[in-house]
């Protein structure tokens, strides 16, 4: 179909012909693009034979969980925006709107290091795998690495190394398997992989149509990919070596604030401003579960899985944390405590606890209140102890009763 609409009138007849040819090609490409999109939907739908919660019907239910706050980390002067665990399972790095980045010992709640960034809104921070450095950035459009020294008095800012440069704010950063490379995502719509030592750009990832808000690296066993989520409502899976987007998912109805891989690496979860969390399976190439309730209307800022992948923790803008049964799609717990939005949430590396950061200036470390939530699945030795304790108590009670009865009978006989 010839398209005769074009701006301005060409001065030379040849230009008019070329113009028309270009428009033909454009229309042709657009048609092909639409055809491919429908084909993609068709192929995905062909394999959609069942829903996850249907397959999970035969799985034992979890019952209600009771989660408790074990530590509250106070010290930030403004909204906590991001946090990350150290691989040693006890240290935490957090960053805040006030420009401060703090390293905490979560066991003792002591502050081990503090750095003041030259900008406010430090939206991203990450711990290096070695535990010897932290990376952070935000409105300065950069990602900087600070080596952590054992000397608490040393000025960390002096050793700062600028690694990444974007043309808009830094929204997330993560070290790869080593301290040598950092992956970043930015408000400029791109992700990028950088060499820490030289600051060189190793690979850039283009494909999002708006700000990229989050990223997560695939578990090391599953290869060199990562997933990113953005304001274009898309979650993209990327090949780190080629820079190619290999899969794309667009089912959310608003910005995707957080993405996290399932522990096996075969799926990932996302949290969005549309108040839902969703699970996407990479091998089925589609969304396989939605975690939502009519009563939940505030956006999800942050998601993470427990170690087995059975639980999904979500931090919400209504100040709560909702815990979901990943397989059955039901909510198993809700945690209150923060006095403002939960902005960041991470499960510890050994899965014993999870930490949350909030706009109420604090961080909390929470875990599973063992006794109450596991009455049906107690470990054998505790079951034995509890049973024997009960037996002892009951026996004592019966002895007491029969003793009392004997005394009363003896009393009556005396009368």
């Amino acid at each position: 179909v010839l398209n005769f609409k074009y701006r301005g009138s060409p001065l030379i007849p040849e230009m008019a012909t070329q113009e028309v040819q270009l428009n033909e090609t454009l229309a042709h490409l657009k048609t092909e693009s639409e055809t491919l999109k429908s084909k993609l939907e068709e192929e995905r739908a062909k394999l959609h034979d069942v829903e996850l919660h249907q397959v999970a019907e035969k799985v034992e239910g979890l019952g209600q969980f009771v989660m408790k706050t074990r530590r509250t980390l106070k010290g930030h002067g403004n909204k906590v925006l991001c946090m990350d665990w150290c691989k040693d399972k006890r240290r935490i790095v957090s960053s805040s709107q006030d420009g401060k980045v703090i390293v905490w010992d979560a066991f003792t709640t002591n502050k081990e290091h503090a750095v003041t960034m030259p900008c406010t809104w430090v939206m991203a921070c990450a711990y290096a795998p070695s535990g010897c450095a932290v990376a952070c950035g935000g409105l300065d459009n950069k990602c900087s690495v600070y080596p952590l020294s054992l000397d608490k008095n040393e000025n960390l800012a002096a050793k700062k190394k600028s690694v990444a440069m974007h043309t808009n704010y830094l929204s997330a950063c993560s070290f790869t398997n080593s301290d040598m490379q950092i992956l970043t995502s930015s408000g400029d719509g791109t992700c990028a992989l950088w060499d820490v030592e030289s600051g060189q750009l190793l690979q850039s990832f283009h494909g999002h149509a708006a700000d990229v808000l989050c990223l997560d690296l695939a578990p090391s066993e599953t290869g060199n990919t990562f997933v990113s989520g953005g304001c274009d409502k898309k979650a993209n899976v990327w090949d780190m070596r080629s820079g190619q987007c290999i899969q794309s998912f667009e089912t959310h109805e608003s910005d995707i604030n957080s993405v996290r891989y399932y522990p096996s690496g075969d799926a990932f979860a996302s949290g969005s401003d549309d108040a839902t969390c969703r699970l996407y399976d990479l091998r089925a190439d589609r969304e396989v579960a939605i975690y939502s309730k009519e009563s939940i209307i505030f956006g999800v800022s942050s998601v993470d899985f427990s170690l087995s992948g059975r639980l999904l923790f979500g931090g919400y803008n209504d100040y709560t944390i909702n815990v979901w049964d990943v397989l059955k799609g039901t909510r198993v717990s809700i945690l209150f405590g923060h006095e403002n939005r939960v902005s960041t949430l991470r499960v510890s590396p050994d899965g014993t606890a999870f930490s949350t950061g909030s706009w109420d200036h604090t961080l909390r470390v929470c875990d599973d209140c063992y006794f109450l939530s596991n009455l049906t699945t107690l470990q054998p030795r505790v079951t034995f102890l509890v049973t024997s304790c009960n037996v002892c108590c009951f026996s004592l009670f019966f002895f007491f009763l029969s003793d009392l009865g004997l005394r009363m009978r003896t009393q009556r006989m005396k009368w």
Binding site: K30, L47, S248, D285, R286, N374, Q379, V382
Partner: protein, 73 residues
């Protein structure tokens, strides 16, 4: 001010990229949802025992628990 020809070329370049990207995405190998879900479920059950937030861990092993005199009560 871009000439209309340059503008069309840009649009074409973008459209070509979109088509290439869609070709790649459409051609990947997929498995059935039932199989994918079965694998997710088996991963959960294999690792459930070693998931502290799922199973809970004894107070003596949890560094975040406050030490109480009697762990049974």
């Amino acid at each position: 001010m871009m000439s209309s020809k340059a503008h069309s070329s840009n649009n074409i370049a973008n459209a070509r990229r979109t088509v290439q990207q869609l070709r790649i995405e459409a051609s990947i190998e997929r498995i059935k949802v039932s199989k994918a879900c079965a694998d997710l479920m088996s991963y959960c059950s294999e690792h459930a025992r070693s998931d502290p937030l799922l199973m809970g861990i004894p107070a003596s092993d949890n560094p975040f628990k406050d030490k109480k005199p009697c762990t049974i009560l």
